[in-house]
Structures are given as C-alpha cells and as structure tokens.
Symmetry: C2
Subunit: 208 residues, 2 copies
Amino acid sequence: MHRAHSDKQTAILDAAQKRFSFYGLTKVTMDEIAEDLGISKAALYYYFPAKEELFRQVIARRHNEFFDLVEDANKTIQIAGEKILRYFQLYLAFFNKLLNLNLVNLNTVDIIHPIIKILFVEFTKKEYDLIESILHEGKKNNEFKIDSPQKTTVLLQHVMQGLRMRFFKAARNRDLEEFDIKMYENDIRLFAKIFLIGIGFPAENACL
Amino acid sequence: MHRAHSDKQTAILDAAQKRFSFYGLTKVTMDEIAEDLGISKAALYYYFPAKEELFRQVIARRHNEFFDLVEDANKTIQIAGEKILRYFQLYLAFFNKLLNLNLVNLNTVDIIHPIIKILFVEFTKKEYDLIESILHEGKKNNEFKIDSPQKTTVLLQHVMQGLRMRFFKAARNRDLEEFDIKMYENDIRLFAKIFLIGIGFPAENACL
C-alpha cells in the first residue's frame, strides 16, 4: 500500500490525468486544470507546486497501482513460476494502460524523460526486489534451476528495458502503429515463455 | 565470401581504420589519411568519394568478417544448439573488437548512426537469415521445441538489439567503463544460456 492522497489531491490528479491524456504534457496549462476543477490557480499550486510534479504523480499512481496488483497476486499464488507469469501479464496490462491513457506521449518522450527519471529509478528498484525475491523463492523450493537469483533478475530487467527502448525508438522517426504494440506484446510473451522454460519451469505451464 | 577489395583499397581502409581508431570519425580528415599513405588527396577521393563512405566500409569489413566466421562455423558444426552457442561467442568477440578498435566511438554515436544505418539494416537482415536457418534446422531435427523459427528469431534479434541499446545509452551521459562492458557480456552469456535451454537445448551443454 502507498501513501494515500486526500480527496482533493485525488480529484486534482484525476482532472490532470484527463487533460494530459487528451492534450499531452506540453500543451496542458495549470490554468486549464484549475478551470476543469472550478478552483483557483493558487489553490491548485498549493497542492502541486508545478505542472511537472502533477504529471509525475499521475504516472506514479499507475506505477503504484501496478506494484499493488503484483504484490496482491504474489500473496495468493503459491508457485514461483506462476508468480513470474503473473508479473509478465500485469506488466503488459500496465504498459498498455500507460499507452492508452496517452501518458507516455511518444512525441514528447524526450521532454517527459527527465521528469520521470527519478520515478524510473524507483520503479527499477522495486521491480528488482520483487523479481529477485520470487526467483530466490523458486530456487529455494527447486522450481528454478538458476545459479544466481541476483544475476538472473538483472538479466530479466535488462531485457525488459531493452525491449521497451526498442519499442520507443520506433516512435522517434514516425508515429507509433498498432503493429508496433502487437510486436512488442509478442516479444514479451515469447520471451516470458522462453525465460521460464530456460530457468527450469515446465514448458506446458509456461504460456502467457 | 564478400566482394574483394583491390590492394590499393585495402591499404586505404587499413590506414583509415588506424586513424579512426585513434582520433574518431569527426577529427580525422581525408588529408591526413592521404598523407599516411603518401598519396594525393585526389587519388584517395578516386577510391573513396567521401570520408563517411570510408568509415562505412571500415565498419562493413568487420561485419563481413563476423559473418564469414559464423558461416565457416556453421559448416563444421553439426548440432544446431552448438551453432547458436558459437554465434553468441562470435558475436561477443565481434562486438569487443568494434569497441577495442574504437570504431564505435561512444561520444559520436549520434553522428555515426546515420552513416551506418544502411549497414545496420543489412546486418540485421543477414543475421536474421542466419539465425532463422539454424532455428529451422534445430526444429526439424527435434533439437529445439519451438512453434515458429521466424518468431523466435525476431525475439532473439530484438533482445540482442535491446541489450545493445541499453549498453550504448549508458555512454550518453558519461564515459563507458570496463564495468559496463563486463555487465553487457554477462547479460549476453546468461541470456544465451537461458534462451538455449528455453528452446529445448540440454542445460548441461548450454554454457557459453
């Protein structure tokens, strides 16, 4: 569970998210968000001192939501391999949601990057701990045949980051197409399967 | 085998490679290369109409060398899984050579990129054909348990590209360290192992 926002803050984040989703980070002004909420600009700045901070927190909510779902799943699932599978599934849903909400607007990815850089570091850290603990558990109970849960976690993260970078790079020179998203999803699905079998999970259960 | 260069062209490429390795693409002039060879600038331009073309061909030689080695290995190796292993080994050696020759100078990666873009497309195409044919062979002789050699090849290429992008990205904000190279090599080695086991190669033979 994460630090709860007040009702006011939640309402502001909802309104901001709507604006950002429609118009992208650069085109939205604090005036417009205040107007949507029927509050003064001063009141808005009281809660969020800058537009970038507002944007950051809109993204942070999605991150937190993702990790809450993964942690909930881990509580109910007994088999480490299925925890990893569930992680991949939730990751795909999370990524798709970010794209659908248009929060990671691909034309402004370079502008957005510095703003969410700290978030990304936090995301990576949390994701590492989560995956490492599952791999450790799977090694301990002989589900996974791996030498080092640490090194395997690093590889998994690097592959995921690399596939994501490839995906976003396509959007630098042209608009992102449905085709790109499908290919990215296929990459993640097939990688998840090969990865799980590769660390010793039975092939027949390894399909996403 | 690839189109042979004349002795003159080879000598020019050797001299250019030396210069580029020491000073990087941007700092080297055609005058200097001509001077190294004791030929006129006109004579140099007769063989290579632009510095960028010279640079491109220096890189192309390394690419060709890599593919020649892979093709040679494939002729003598009988087991598809070992062909893939050998491909990974040769790839690591090739990548290291490019770095050691300082040809992919990391401070000028953005300048170099457009110049070698076509080369990269050719590299990707050749690499695809090569890997796809090995995976196809391994599926046919029941070494590999894969549904689609094509899709598996795409994933393998995407992961390799992604890991490479991650690696080069580290060099955008700081100098590349020995540490980065070690980590990249570890990524490739562990990925190769998990990938091979993941597609059904016996674990005991899957170590790079």
